[in-house]
Symmetry: C2
Subunit: 196 residues, 2 copies
DNA sequence: TAATGTTTGAAACACTTGTTTTAACCTATC
DNA sequence: GATAGGTTAAAACAAGTGTTTCAAACATTA
């Protein structure tokens, strides 16, 4: 792997772990075994590097995208949402860090926004949530209000994303892999939020 | 209000807003109109000041405590949980910042832990979650597994705490006070997670 | 009032952090 | 091999950040 790519991947690690503000360019260079000046040489600065990290991370296809592919139209809403929720939970407990990057970035941006949040919001998050909304509307039928659709979507996301809270889940259950062990149980409960 | 108290309250503002690492002692002093050296004079340093902030914030009685008081034993689990959830949602949308402090600290600690997280976890959070667990166990009866009880509690907290995400909720619904407007709707959905 | 202890304020200190500079080091092309 | 263009490395810079210093100001009490 060339140096630029090594820096990019070290940056992904650092930014997803600490968030934009607490990430340190010196730590990124150390991880990449690169000189401090390399970030500015290759990327133009911390913010520009973060921008490339965002582009990379939000283009990683997650397990859900792989399962669903182009079958969105032919899938029943229940089936689609079942996959959506299980994939989400899998990401929170997966050994593969690739699947966690996106959500880690989102969580950091929600708590300590970077200068790039408006862009991420507009181009990465709103479109994704809009697709979820569409499917939930299909599931619930025409008589359901817009507010109720929004509420259902957010309750679903809230239930899933909470399990990225490693210290919380471990502190509360005393278990290291509670989510991985209980994906079916959790997904079953969450899908009921939507179907009942 | 004496200077020490003014600093404490400015610190509460700053720490709950930015979290421990991104809070700036200079900003706290500016807010309190105090000299930079005052923090070290009165409190002994940034971390010691944060410690006092934690003690203060976690001792503010929230709306739930006020309603329930000593009636925990005589209340039906359903009633107790109904209050618990509605109070939580009220905190997320309340005009009164007092009720938000605790949750803001928790969220920051989960995402970017401070040196005080282990203490907060042990003395402030685990006991509170244990009480919730107890009530949920009472509600679900003896045949329910420990993992299912834990799952239900975390799904409940996850649903509630998600609504502290101002940028998320506003970006997704396009509304400034979605939660305040829809507390009953949201609480109704969340309580179903537990009762069905 | 004088003496004592407490509080305040300006400056400086030591360290961190993103960026820039400048020279040395490759490497491909003629 | 000489040259030019791209790459790397060490050092320095400027701004930020928690802490400390020390003398002045203030308040309290004998």
């Amino acid at each position: 792997m060339d140096r630029k790519n090594k820096i990019l991947h070290a940056a992904i690690d650092e930014f997803t772990d600490k968030g934009y503000h607490l990430a340190r360019v010196r730590d990124i260079c150390d991880k990449a075994k690169a000189n401090l000046a390399a970030i500015n040489y290759y990327f133009g600065g911390k913010e520009a590097l973060y921008h490339e990290v965002i582009e990379f991370v939000f283009n990683i296809p997650d397990p859900f995208d792989l399962v669903v592919k182009d079958r969105t139209q032919e899938m029943k809403p229940e089936e689609y949402l079942q996959h959506w929720i299980e994939s989400f939970l899998e990401c929170t407990s997966s050994e593969n860090p690739l699947y966690k990057y996106r959500y880690k970035i989102i969580i950091h941006e929600m708590v300590s926004p970077s200068p790039l949040l408006p862009e991420i919001m507009e181009h990465k998050m709103i479109p994704r949530l809009a697709r979820l909304k569409e499917i939930v509307r299909k599931l619930k039928g025409g008589q359901t209000t817009e507010d109720e659709i929004s509420a259902l979507c957010m309750l679903t996301v809230g239930q899933c994303i909470y399990f990225f809270n490693k210290p919380m889940v471990e502190g509360f259950t005393g278990q290291k892999d509670f989510v991985g062990k209980n994906i079916k149980l959790l997904a079953g409960k969450i899908i009921k939020t939507l179907t009942i």
